[in-house]
Symmetry: C3
Subunit: 349 residues, 3 copies
């Protein structure tokens, strides 16, 4: 797996981690246990007891600490062993790795690089349930596929026309026209006008308008997208640049999505979606989530099948198309950042 | 896997491939998609899009063509990409492999060698539903075992006495007497008389007769068998050679069977069976198929168990017996043909 | 797998092997078939036909012999082929391995070393259903984990406090106090007094007493444990040595347990438990077995999770604690015996 380590990975939805209930997830192949302590502090540790490698996620929260429930070793929030039952001396090496962890935008983010270098400002500006403007639903899907294949999918919306023919009902325009793709410091931006078309399935009242869509796909694999529909002619009036969203006739929604590599060929995909309060209500949110569940299931069928074909191919090769500009930009950015991390490690050694 | 490539492999029953419904099967480790075009032409392509390796079998038939439903690449029947949505220029290397494919005797046959060298005359003379003389039922079974183990099973009918003690109820004679085994250009022929015995289960009326059985086992793994029962003394009257089947008292049936290697340790086994019109009707066909389902399930239990033992054996060895003459002849033929193919490839390079 | 070969492994409970019903189990990666012949002799053979590696456990008992039900080879109790149907000459190499096998203490024991060196005196003195003093129940569990991890678990009862908090309800004393650990020629002995405490769950009447526990853990992985509770002060009166069990107030039970390595990462765990006749009846046995089923399920959850963490760890390491004295002694003994076996093999060669 070639993924950036100095980045915040989504480990869970906030509401998936209960009070003093250890939660397990593998990120970049590393087992991580996350818990909320008695004082409601969020703590993330290596999920592997230093004694005999039992998972601490089968353990018990005790105050601020976590006890391994195999032979009772007790761990401090910094990963140091605080107690070995029946033994007075605790060796110095008796510690597990501790991860920087932050709860923000309704997600639990874990920094997979050195905890000392964790930089909160690098958390992508997702929209959580606490956002005043959006009414959101949420979900997640586990993939039997490499996270990179899901990233590639999200970096090229030409697939909407085909993969989502039955759910979103996207027109050919999504495949034939290219968005404006702009490199960002930590990702890629996609913007596009689709002009003079009716809405997608479920929102198609036959009225033609100009539709604006814009999303950022950010390291390590976070998609943040908004958009809406406007009076016909708006795209041209804006010179095909970004409109003022306040001018939208309707359809403004926000979706936050995150792809977290677990093992080499498994990943968890988190997503939320919902309308702006001025453009919809809980009922619309529920309708959108129903559509999302269907559409993201279509992606999963295609991507897991793609993974199986790749696995059965002795010498896998791809042939990029002109729709792959964003895919290529993002994967090059990942490679550049990974190389820089490896150089830094070598220089430090 | 050491299998002949210049051969016709059964990919499906004719009736398993619907109009414009792509059908997927892996043969010799290669993913193949087969479809009937709008004009009812049969087309077989590599089931792996040249773009990002999505399976074309999740695609959509459009006229004579097949569209990948990931990002919309459209493929001609010869495997060449006809369209990349939103892209004007199509690179020369934008093509997938195209296979020679023929529908005959109710089977879909795919030539796994170079399509240019496909030789229709090498299709084994199976008996299909269109044959005027036989009333056939059909089925298939998927094996978690190497195809070669199923071939070996079909090349030595001494197993009938033991594996099929509960279904066919074959006598000890099947294990103790040896058939006449004759090498053919593309296979092995087995012929035998079993004299003075009653019929097998379901056809045993207590009357003793002489039973004739003859089958060819042909490259790549196709069994074609007929036989029937005759007046006692017929074997001797024929000097233990082949009888005139028109003289049979009854019991003339035909079975076509085919073993197709999928992955290294998976295979699909196709089979039909049924009586000659003069010796039975639809009811007898159904009774025979019920018996076949039971018997071929017995083979599957034994062969998959055999595969598990082989897999758990560090240095697997076999000890052939005198019943293995046909097995040995056929496997040597396969080795000879494989070697010749490899030599030809080397000489061409 | 590094396990002693010159040892008796438990293959089954006596009552699990019916008359003339071949029984299959893999021990140390070797497939073994065990059957009771017509004369009720117990026979253990390599479960892999010399012909084409079909499992003999799918075979049929015929008198003292076992017939392979693939092509009918018939095996003598010493593993030699007695008959190849339709073949007069039987080659010398036509034999499978024969194992020394003994039924004792309600278990079927198989010697995994050279059968000629099998030494019945090395069978651990387990307590079977035929024992006059104990009323026993029994069971077994299959583990998706290496046998050594189960041995390690049974060699360190500090886990009782944590793993079995919900079942046995063991106090902290089990984790904080250390037993007396004594090396034996073929194992390790654990003895301890826990003084002035009430009984564990299900036997806690609030009365405090001194509890004595003693068990041997013997090559290859057999645990034999007894104990009971005594008047407070008995431990001190005995100078913390072993008491006379006849002085027990109650609670004397016996449990025999055996861990059998199957494949590299699978194992079968056999166990019995029950009260001394003077201290309980069938109803108590059933209550204890219910508790055992719950507790051994807790071990399985922890140990299989531990195995998964180990498998996902590139460079697995452990950090022993002072509770690991018995684990270390036993594993060193195994290593010593394995080394001696390998030296003997080298010298013989």
């Amino acid at each position: 797996m070639s993924y950036v380590r100095n980045a915040w990975y989504v480990a869970a939805w906030s509401h998936d981690i209960g009070a003093q209930k250890p939660f397990a997830i593998t990120i970049l192949g590393e087992p991580v246990v996350i818990y909320r302590s008695e004082s409601d502090r969020l703590i993330a540790l290596e999920d592997r007891c230093v004694h005999r490698m039992a998972p601490l996620s089968l353990g018990r929260c005790e105050g601020e600490r976590l006890r391994c429930m195999y032979h009772g070793l007790l761990f401090d929030p910094d990963g140091k062993v605080a107690e070995i039952p029946g033994q007075d001396i605790i060796p110095n090496q008796a510690r597990v790795k501790s991860y920087a962890v932050i709860e923000k935008h309704s997600w639990i983010w874990v920094w997979m690089g050195d905890a000392a270098s964790a930089d909160e400002s690098l958390i992508p500006p997702a929209v959580g349930f606490d956002h005043p403007d959006f009414i959101l639903g949420s979900g997640h899907l586990d993939y039997a596929a490499e996270a990179r294949l899901i990233n590639d999918n999200l970096l090229d919306f030409s697939h909407l026309t085909y993969v989502h023919a039955n759910s979103f009902g996207a027109t050919d325009t999504w495949a034939r026209n290219r968005p404006v793709v702009t490199p960002l410091a930590r990702g890629v931006r996609f913007e596009r006008w689709i002009t003079g078309e009716a809405g997608m399935r479920g929102r198609d009242d036959g009225v033609l308008h100009d539709r604006w869509t814009s999303y950022d796909f950010l390291i390590p694999g976070v998609l943040l997208m908004t958009g809406g529909y406007f009076e016909p002619g708006t795209a041209e009036a804006c010179n095909h640049q970004a409109p003022d969203l306040d001018d939208a006739l309707g359809g403004i929604t926000f979706t936050s999505q995150a792809v977290t590599p677990m093992q080499a060929k498994t990943a968890r995909y988190f997503f939320s979606w919902g309308p702006h309060r001025r453009h919809g209500d809980e009922a619309l949110r529920d309708a959108l989530m129903k559509l999302a569940d269907m559409a993201f299931g279509e992606d999963k069928v295609m991507i897991e099948a793609q993974q199986r074909v790749i696995d059965a191919t002795p010498d896998p090769r791809i042939m990029p198309t002109s729709a792959d500009k964003g895919v290529t930009l993002f994967n090059r950015l990942v490679e550049k950042l990974v190389r820089a991390e490896q150089d830094a490690l070598r220089n430090a050694a």
